[in-house]
Assembly symmetry: none
DNA sequence: CATGAATGAGCTTTCATTCAT
DNA sequence: AATGAATGAAAGCTCATTCAT
């Protein structure tokens, strides 16, 4: 292991999307580039109305070059999903929510970070929830697993709180799933509140509501 | 029969989708027919992957005939949405939930009917929540208004409960919106529960959870 | 024959366009109606972009009814041409140009009437010259013959002028043809004069130019 | 060859019809190819009855490839017009009519060249005069301008003749326009002469007639 | 590894015509 | 004789994908 130099000690990355190009570093760099540009286009125009040519223009890559890093158009969808999930995971880790000792504090912090995330990636969330069904079955399972991981992470936090007597929850998994679901209410159903509440108010009410699910 | 004179007492129907055909009764009949078949196809293959020819086959109508009842493919989407909303409204009215005196009983009944509906129209709900963004703007607003009406109906029930001292709710509208959102958790996120809970258990937990939002 | 009452003593009309309907008077009335409305539509949108449905709306007749008086869409084109030629012939006859004795006077009057006609039926002329090629061959010959008749009529007038020593023309037929052609310069090429000459000036110059062809 | 460096001295060409293909040389080559084949088809069947698939067959290009060089079917019409106008201009320049000193000689030569052109491009002229109305407005103006240029060129020649005392013309512009119009009489109204005069006779009479308009 | 022209199946939509009522 | 719903061939156009350079 000690001998793994510069290009060596990168984490073993299992690419979700296979590419023709051999140079793994390049592949990752380009796929990230593609995902970022595609994300914007997909959000603006929708997946179906975004053509490969649009992508080619937005990325500044020739059509043929794009196809060196993806095999089908659907692959771009996967890249986008991948980047979103990866960035969420990295954000949570960077914010150190997993290291907070006090369960209630940790829970609150976790919810808070996820609410922030929902606000920052509002459009991405809308896009993902509405177009995730377009994913080819194989990929759909990968991303369902990632969603599940999110829920399981939260469930772990909830369970720790129960064990320490801080929370009282009857069905921890159902509750965790409901919370994750609830956290997307603003992006997905926020328009119902138009003219009634500001985003900040919504987030506060949502946080309150979620807190009541575990503390009482 | 005697009361059904030629052009006499047909109900004044305002169509969401305009058709070239003049016979209004026929239009309604055919648009319903189209909507039903389209619904199944859209759910199975998605809107974009369902071609007009698929629709023509499924409905048994010639392509040109289809276009006697719609103007654009998008219109079919509207028909589907329309039928769904209409059937929900009719179902609620038929079940008589609006006539129950006791607020708690009424609330419970209302939730129950909506859960039933969510179970019966599972696929339709998935479809609608994922593809509603494809609606042309004009129609999108119509259907957002119908969603809003649902929420407002529930809010009314909740407020009555508050007035009569049966419920304690801080933000009735937010709560109503959250409840409507929560009622779709099984169709939309049910897969996260796979192998853990049965649909009946999920529905019970969801009902419990919702009840706790207003009663306390 | 003497028994032919009201519907009997109509001139023997040979319809250019055959219809399924038996009542000849009705046929003529309706075909005239169709031709008039079609004329406007064709001029405004062009033949190809005018659909049978457009015609149905404009005439107030059901699509099926239209097809009682024509056999194909092309037939409408013929009706339009027919009406134009008929009205020109009737106009010339009514103005009595054929009865003027003095050749020069007659010639001037004839040219004048045709110029008036070209101005009054500007759009019709443009339409006919640009879309006459769409006529089915059989009809094309009919209308070419009518054009030829116009030229021959003029040639007769010119020849009379020559015989009486009023005109000097080397090739009467070529000249007659050229004159007829020249009379349409304003409708067909008038746009080249935009901002330079008024229609009246153009007509005056055209009349002068034509006069010089025969008088000298 | 040595002077043809990679991106070096290709002429700056402003295309009337924009294409997706970047290689400008290729674009010109292919658009010319398309125009030539389309011209024949349009003349034979008319613009409307010529389908994109017909064009695809005639050019030996796939439908999609065609659309790499045009944006809409109308564009093909423009290409055809463009090629015609370009070839006329090149023909006149190559024949050196602009360099003849003597006004009468120049005028005669000019008319002669245009008559030749009308004879060589008989069908193209018929087509252009009848279908030019189908051009999209933007292009219509371009080609009206080119027509106008033709007239202005001739007017210049006529005016020079007037200035040098060789011609006597009252309205040079009207006369120039009339002459250009008259030059197309054979293609457009030639059928009226069938069986009476040969093309050569017609051309001679036309040339005479035109000459008389300026010399007297 | 980059490029971008070529491909053709497939899409939505229109429309002249028919025919049962 | 009038109606207007039904028909389906055919139109123009798009676009994911390939492959020679």
């Amino acid at each position: 292991m000690g001998s793994l130099e510069k290009t060596g000690n990168k984490k073993k990355v299992t690419n979700t999307v296979m590419s023709r190009v051999k140079n793994q570093e390049l592949v990752l760099k380009m796929q990230l580039h593609i995902a970022k540009k595609a994300s914007k286009l997909f959000i603006k125009k929708g997946y179906h109305k975004t053509s490969i040519r649009d992508l080619s223009e937005a990325t500044g890559m020739a059509v043929g070059s794009l196809y060196n890093y993806i095999k089908k158009k659907e692959d771009v969808l996967c890249l986008v999903f991948d980047v979103f999930h990866r960035s969420l995971r990295e954000y949570l880790e960077k914010q150190g929510v997993y290291n907070i000792e006090d369960p209630e504090e940790q829970f609150k912090a976790y919810i808070c970070r996820l609410l922030e995330n929902a606000q920052n990636f509002r459009d991405e969330i809308i896009f993902m929830y509405t177009e995730s069904w377009l994913l080819p079955q194989a990929f759909k399972e990968i991303f369902m697993q990632k969603e599940l991981d999110n829920i399981l992470n939260l469930e772990k936090i909830v369970k720790r709180g129960i064990d320490q007597g801080a929370f009282r929850v009857e069905y921890p998994f159902y509750t965790a799933s409901t919370i994750i679901y609830q956290l997307s209410i603003e992006p997905l159903r926020g328009w119902t509140f138009t003219g009634k509440y500001s985003i900040e108010e919504i987030n506060r009410m949502t946080a309150d509501h979620i807190l009541k699910m575990v503390i009482n």
